[in-house]
């Protein structure tokens, strides 16, 4: 259990009238600039493949792959970004992908955090064994059981509907595992106090656990969203009709064994990455949220 007892030193701090500031390390401006420069170089290195995707999306198909690589296109094919919408049903794909990602994320976060509370804060026989079964299924590669699962889904008439993907992803073990670990960091004393106050277990979950685990919930939401957004094999198996396709599936129609329209694929891929990146950037404050001291004093 993470320790939460407030050390006595802080009591000493409160009593002393003069607040001692902890000595600040002197980091010169030069050091700061160098540090930033290093980080910018690292960021550039990390973003290189994305840069390649962008420039490829602005080339013609036959100039995407050359030896040596052309880092700046000769002629910018801006029309690719229009073509992807007119020649292919990018709007349908976007719509489907968005719908699936949002629904799956919502369900995973909800049922996952709900179940995680049971695995973490409630004690009953067989709890840990069942939890290991959950984690165990993560250890089985999906290709191995995807056909028995497909047969099952077909019998349940889920195949070739968006429900198949929702059913596939929304009840995964990953969310349960992640949230359980975060609930472990919440001290037992909090729940005890709440129970004494008369809150039911469900109340504790809603009023105490959820607000405290916002970074974990945000991380789970983002990761689930990204995984569903980028999922290829699931939609490949279960979304056959053209109007059900997701972006990853739709882009692959530009691939044939004999001729691949790489430029358009890259255009679609760039458009596919942007929403996720924007969500991540704008949602930063949910991931990195300082938690106020948990108020155990007294």
């Amino acid at each position: 259990m993470a320790t939460t007892l407030v050390p006595s030193a802080s009591a000493g701090l409160v009593q002393a009238p003069v607040l001692r500031r902890p000595p600040r390390r002197r980091v010169g401006t030069v050091g700061r600039i160098l540090g930033y420069a290093a980080m910018i170089v690292a960021a550039a290195a990390v973003l290189l493949p994305f840069y390649w995707m962008v420039i490829s999306s602005l080339k013609t198909n036959n100039t995407v792959f050359t030896a040596p690589i052309q880092w700046v296109p000769e002629v910018f094919q801006w029309h690719n970004y229009v073509d992807i919408f007119t020649r292919a049903e990018m709007t349908t794909w976007l719509k489907n992908t968005l719908l699936l990602s949002v629904v799956v994320t919502f369900l995973q976060v909800l049922t996952g955090s709900f179940a995680a509370y049971g695995f973490s804060k409630v004690h009953f026989r067989g709890r840990d064994a069942l939890f290991l079964v959950y984690v165990g299924t993560i250890a089985v590669p999906w290709q191995a059981y995807m056909i028995p699962q497909f047969i099952l889904f077909s019998k349940l008439h889920l195949s070739n509907t968006l429900w198949a993907i929702i059913a596939l992803q929304a009840f995964g073990a990953f969310g349960v595992f992640l949230m359980r670990q975060f609930y472990e960091t919440v001290p037992e004393e909090l729940s005890e106090a709440a129970r004494l106050d008369g809150l039911s277990e469900y109340g504790i979950w809603r009023r105490i656990m959820l607000p405290l685990s916002v970074p974990a919930l945000a991380s789970l939401a983002l990761l689930t969203f990204v995984n569903t957004w980028n999922d290829y094999l699931g939609p490949l198996l279960y979304l056959r009709d053209r109007d059900l396709w997701t972006i990853q599936l739709g882009l692959r129609t530009f691939v044939t064994q004999y001729n691949t329209e790489f430029a358009l694929i890259m255009t679609g891929s760039v458009l596919s990455v942007l929403p996720v990146a924007i969500i991540f950037m704008l949602g930063q404050r949910y991931f990195v949220q300082g938690i106020a001291t948990t108020g155990i004093k007294g």
């Binding site: 994305f50 290991l132 056909i147 009840f171 277990e201 990455v273 950037m281 949220q289």
Partner: protein
């Protein structure tokens, strides 16, 4: 007090405990049920079918003729399986510590209120959300022995015979490990960031007041506080490493030769290319057993540390 009263009190206590246990079980199950119902029907059932299929010679269409443990004995003498197992362990042994260190380091570095830190965090996360095809293509180009910038850089440093990377059987796995680490460090960085938020700031304050340096603060405050997250990250890293598939498929497809064939790929090949689903299921069971054993060990170690 008379014996009867004592016995009676004891019986009441037992009944109360029994009732409490039942109550706890009911409450616990009520929490788990929504997720569990979906999980059991849609995931657990096919996985159990897999366990059954491992003992058959199923080819996806017809019957599943029972072959007992033939699949497993076949694996013992299957050179490709040995190669796949070796490659997977090789990959895991390097990938886990590298990714763990990189993601934890990034999380610690980017946990502060620097200017533009949101941008840097997004940059670190970008590799994970970028199309894996793009990643494979670009890294292959970077690693190109003739034209790639990496080898050109190495040659500029004076290395006379730079490695062949993805077109050499010796260096293809290191290349894959580098790319996989680069790709996943943002993912685990995110988890570590969330975990770092659960450590109360006044613990750091107190440690600083007590005179602890940065390293001591890290060792005595951060690491213990991160233990549940660390457990999660190491389990997911381990399972993920053993199951690695997509990246290798698009980057090297197991080649050159069989230098990057890993277990998941072996399973895929046997199942979808050679149509031996029973055999592939058996290999999956082996993969599962390895993962679950290590997970259980980690679980027990973690539990003991917590107590």
């Amino acid at each position: 007090m008379s014996i009867e009263v004592l016995l009676d009190r004891r019986q009441q206590a037992v009944r109360r405990r029994g009732r409490l246990r039942r109550h706890n079980a009911l409450v616990g199950w009520s929490f788990i049920l929504p997720n569990f119902v979906g999980f059991a029907i849609l995931t657990l059932l096919p996985v159990l079918a897999l366990f059954f299929l491992a003992f058959t010679g199923w080819n996806a269409f017809g019957n599943a003729p029972w072959v007992g443990s033939d699949n497993f004995t076949r694996m013992i003498s299957d050179r490709l399986f040995h190669e796949a197992l070796y490659n997977t362990v090789y990959y895991t042994a390097f990938h886990i510590p590298l990714t763990f260190a990189a993601s934890l380091g990034l999380a610690l570095l980017l946990n502060r209120k620097l200017r533009g830190v949101a941008f840097f965090r997004t940059a670190a996360f970008f590799p994970y959300i970028t199309s894996i095809v793009a990643i494979a293509v670009v890294w292959n180009m970077l690693f190109s022995p003739e034209f790639g910038p990496i080898n050109q850089f190495l040659q500029a440093l004076g290395v006379s015979d730079p490695p062949g990377w993805t077109s050499s059987t010796d260096w293809s796995m290191p290349a894959v490990i580098i790319v996989a680490t680069w790709r996943e460090m943002g993912y685990y960085m995110l988890l570590f960031l969330a975990g770092l938020q659960t450590i109360p700031a006044d613990l750091y304050e107190a440690a600083r007041v007590d005179g602890a340096g940065a390293w001591q603060r890290f060792w005595n405050v951060t690491l213990p506080g991160l233990r549940p997250t660390t457990f999660f990250v190491t389990v997911m890293l381990m399972i993920g490493s053993f199951k690695i598939f997509d990246l290798i498929l698009v980057m090297t497809n197991g080649g050159p030769g069989t230098s990057t064939v890993v277990l998941s790929q072996f399973i895929y090949r046997k199942a979808f290319v050679e149509n031996q689903f029973g055999y592939a299921s058996a290999a999956s069971i082996v993969l599962f057993l390895i993962c679950i054993t290590v997970t259980v060990v980690q679980f027990l170690v973690n539990k003991r540390r917590e107590a």
